[in-house]
């Protein structure tokens, strides 16, 4: 999930990050107005074909998709109970398409390219006091923190298990304190690497 760039040479990789994010944004919005099953089916087929074009190994693609499936299944069941099978399939396929597309974008786009694209997109908001390079940094750090939090969670849970505490929400507080301490250290490291220096006036 996120941050899992799969390096390869392909037309999909070569597309500008901005274009890919824009497509994701457009599809993420537009798909909700598509109510025809064949239409959605075609979109799904196109996305799957794009995976082949991007030369993402099926194993990698599946690994990204699998954790999401139980949730999609739940929604599917809920829709079946509450509405009719057609709507249920519609909703299910829609989610599938969106997740696949979002994963494809993250698999084929370097985080730094994605961040540059976000910074460029936020450029026009500069007069409103938005500082695009700050937002870019925040996004990068967020992506960086995700695996760190998971790692720390595993450590805390292991430590508690070692002391005979099984499955409880008691691991939340130590986890928070550990990650807060890490964030503190990271803030310090940002300072040490000169982040506080004036942001460069740079148009790349």
């Amino acid at each position: 999930m996120l941050s899992l760039y799969h390096d390869a040479r392909s037309p999909v990789h070569a597309l500008p990050a901005g274009a890919k994010l824009l497509t994701l944004f457009a599809v993420g919005t537009g798909l909700f107005f598509v109510r025809s099953l064949p239409g959605l089916g075609i979109t799904l087929a196109v996305v799957v074909a794009l995976y082949a074009v991007a030369r993402v190994p099926w194993r990698t693609a599946w690994g990204q998709l699998r954790p999401v499936l139980p949730f999609t299944a739940l929604i599917l069941v809920a829709q079946l109970v509450l509405t009719d099978w057609r709507t249920a399939v519609l909703v299910g396929v829609r989610i599938l398409v969106l997740v696949l597309l979002a994963n494809l974008v993250t698999l084929t786009t370097r985080t730094s390219a994605m961040i540059t694209a976000i910074e460029v997109a936020l450029g026009p908001l500069r007069p409103l006091g938005v500082r695009p390079e700050r937002v870019g940094l925040l996004v990068a750090l967020t992506i960086r923190f995700i695996p760190v939090i998971k790692e720390q969670a595993d450590q805390v849970r292991a430590a508690q298990k070692a002391r005979g505490v099984e499955r409880s929400f008691a691991f939340l507080t130590p986890l928070l304190i550990k990650t807060l301490r890490l964030a503190d250290g990271l803030g310090e490291a940002l300072d040490a690497r000169g982040l506080d220096a004036e942001p460069p006036r740079r148009r790349s």
Partner: protein
Amino acid sequence: MTIELEGVGHRFGDRRVLRDVDLRLDEERVGVIGSNGSGKSTFARLLNGLLVPTEGRVRVDGLDTRKQGKAVRRRVGFVFQDPDVQIVMPTVAEDLAFGLKHHGVARDEIDRRVADTLAAYGLAEFRDHPAHLLSGGQKQLLAIAAVLVLEPEHVVFDEPTTLLDLRNRRRIGRLIHDLPQQVVVVSHDLELLAGFDRVVLFEGGRVVADGPAEQTIAAYLAMHPPL
């Protein structure tokens, strides 16, 4: 190539961690040792302005850390004990580029320096590797490379080998020994500091011994005889 401390003391609230430190460091290899809580880490953080002393002043090549903090931090690189807090970006190459980007270095210059650094520290094969999947030694290597890519004049290390196994310890030790910059290393790893031009011993927030590595390390060992 000089770091000077004059009448330096430091407090966190009402806890006093350093007092009366007067040092002029112009040797190429400076080590700092001392017990836990002796003020070593605070000392290290004073050297690049991460901390500004509550008493006295610290100057790096004539620049006061209090008044010219930004300029000092550009001159003085800092490597932390835990590479996990230091690696900022998701992948190896991106992390190397991070500091350069924030220093306003031009794009092609960034690409060039990143490529050089990747090659120099044997990280080329990990270019697009997620940083969190590196081994402990590789992570520390990346953390150091990310500082060196900024081409600082001095590098401060805060216990750079504490979390490493013997092989990686030696590897990082060799790297530190070979650096062209002035280096200040805070460490419990006495083997790492052997052969340094100068080693300073802190106890209870004061300098209690200062001299060539063998001499200071011997004093330190004498203070803590085997039980």
